[in-house]
């Protein structure tokens, strides 16, 4: 029997790893080459801002698979290899060390890159970003000499870091450009809830202001804001978002906020697929891109099935992420452009509630669940079903989420 042509996966993050495993489980018998520019074996990113930062998990626990697992599944890992160019005519790709690899199909699982601040004082020591295990280790190593930390950006990574440093007894200030943290995702009211969550734990939050420059001799000593605030610090972490890695094949593939794929993960080029954080995929009639763990895993698995068995597994998972802050657990399902929640359920004051973003047809588009893990699976189902709900029933925490359909 002729062996299948190699499948190359670029990016050994969560998406690439799950795709590689799924290819084997689906019976693909050819070579699977999983490439990453990072030298680390595939690892999990969420603990970087949480358990690893707090010191409740060690870096050895962060790897997604044992080394023998790659051998068992005959997944060829090529670490520390950056792919610069993909040639679609003769189906080869060229690594930065000059290696040429032939391919039959490619999966782009390249993830995202950090947005960087380009302001005076950028190069001072003690200014960090957080994306990789190496980043996390370098922050951890510097913490002993740090009492005051400034976090730029009150997004999820910023918020989780604030919570972790707060737990470690550091004095934390967050500087956030918008008037209310996370209001662009959840709306003002929920944004204020997150604002209060920080301040009630003693974290300083400056909103509606931005960083103008960093000052210090060799190390950062101060953050100066546009409104003229001077914040002393010994470390800064910038968490102002990410953008998709779409440099490879950008000229040849349709891209708009990520590689555009159809429900099977196919890009506009034959035999080239994309999955995870770098892909823009169809959800409820729109193309969206999400930067969430659950999607990265499921999309990777799903697209891999289609790479082995053409167009057999359309993807339609409800987008989902979770976040842990100050000992509370947040779970968010769905996707919405609605400006604020329509229905609240539970006890906001005691941090046990859910709120729902419901459209004109009475269908839940998205929901935020706070410390109510029992509601997670039922809510995910409600959003997946796209049926209208009875808002009064939904608002009543006594009524079962299994019985809220109209």
């Amino acid at each position: 029997m002729r062996e299948s042509k190699p499948i190359i996966i670029i990016g050994a993050g969560l998406s690439g790893l799950h795709a590689a495993e799924t290819l084997r489980h689906e019976g693909f018998d050819g070579r699977i080459i999983l490439i990453d520019r990072e030298k680390e074996y595939p690892y999990d990113r969420p603990p970087l801002s949480k358990e690893l930062m707090m010191g409740t998990m060690s870096s050895s626990e962060i790897y997604l698979r044992t080394i023998s697992e790659y051998e068992r599944l005959k997944i060829e890992l090529r670490l520390g290899l950056n792919i610069d160019e993909i040639n679609t005519e003769n189906k080869t790709l060229i690594a930065d060390d000059g290696t040429i690899i032939h391919w039959g199909k490619i999966l782009l699982a390249t993830g995202t890159k950090l947005r960087e601040l380009n302001i005076p004082g950028n190069n001072l020591e003690g200014i960090h970003y957080l994306k990789t295990l190496a980043d996390a280790k370098s922050v951890r190593q510097s913490l002993d000499d740090v009492n005051q930390i400034v976090i730029i950006g009150a997004g999820f990574i910023g918020a989780e870091l604030a919570s972790s440093f707060n737990k470690l007894g550091k004095e934390v200030t967050i500087v956030e450009k918008s008037e209310t943290p996370l209001a662009h995702i959840f709306g003002d009211e929920v944004g204020k809830y997150f604002f209060n969550l920080h301040t009630s734990h003693g974290v300083n939050v400056i909103t509606g202001d931005s960083v103008e420059r960093f000052e210090g001799t060799d190390r950062v000593e101060r953050v100066v804001t546009r409104d003229g605030k001077n914040i002393s610090c010994q470390a800064v972490i910038v968490g102002i978002g990410v953008k998709p890695n779409t440099e490879l094949l950008q000229e040849k593939i349709s891209c708009e906020n990520g590689y555009i794929v159809n429900e099977f993960g196919e890009t506009s080029l034959p035999d080239v697929y994309a999955a995870g954080d770098c892909a823009s995929w169809p959800y409820q009639g729109k193309h969206i891109r999400v930067e969430h763990w659950d999607h990265a895993m499921n999309h990777g698995k799903n697209v891999a099935i289609n790479m082995v068995q053409n167009q057999t597994a359309p993807y339609h998972k409800v987008p989902y992420f979770w976040s842990d802050q100050y000992g509370y657990r947040f779970q968010y399902f769905g996707y919405t452009t609605l400006p604020k929640p329509t229905v609240w359920r539970g006890d906001v004051q005691n941090h046990r509630f859910s709120c729902f973003y419901i459209n004109n047809e009475g269908i839940i588009e998205a929901a935020l669940i706070v410390n109510q893990p029992k509601e997670a699976l039922p809510v995910r189902r409600l959003i997946a079903e796209q049926k209208s709900v009875d808002m009064e029933q939904l608002a009543n925490p006594q009524s079962s989420l299994k019985k809220v359909h109209t």
Binding site: H18, P46, R65, W293, D294, M297, W322, R329, Q331, P373, K374, A376, L377, P378, R380
Partner: protein
């Protein structure tokens, strides 16, 4: 009649009394703390099964998930375990759940941890 000798035997064999049979109807589950262990007990087709109550993946209490026949779903990343033997039926978990021996005597539930 309650058989006292049997109780002594259970205790001697490391079993702990954890509750009454009526508290776990068919198709339902309950979380209990036995010593330091968080144990989840579920009843399927009349039989009781006991597994570790904490997901083997990251951290979540499985009692907050859902039980669908023998499939136990985690509420955090939705791994699925077979509650009868702890095996992973669907990721992201890769490690099975530890299982515990459980027995019913005279309407009482006893678990060995």
């Amino acid at each position: 009649m309650i058989d006292k000798t049997n109780y002594t035997e259970l205790t001697n064999n490391g079993y702990h009394f954890v509750g009454y049979s009526t508290s776990i109807p068919d198709g339902e589950m309950q979380e209990l703390t036995v010593g330091k262990e968080v144990v989840l007990i579920a009843r399927i087709d009349g039989n009781l099964y006991a597994v570790d109550g904490i997901c083997s993946h990251a951290y979540a209490e499985l009692v907050d998930g859902e039980l669908d026949e023998h499939c136990l779903y985690c509420p955090l990343h939705f791994a699925c375990f077979d509650v009868r033997n702890g095996e992973v039926l669907e990721g992201p978990a890769t490690e099975p759940l530890p299982v515990f021996d459980v027995t019913e005597e005279n309407g009482e539930i006893w678990v060995k941890v």
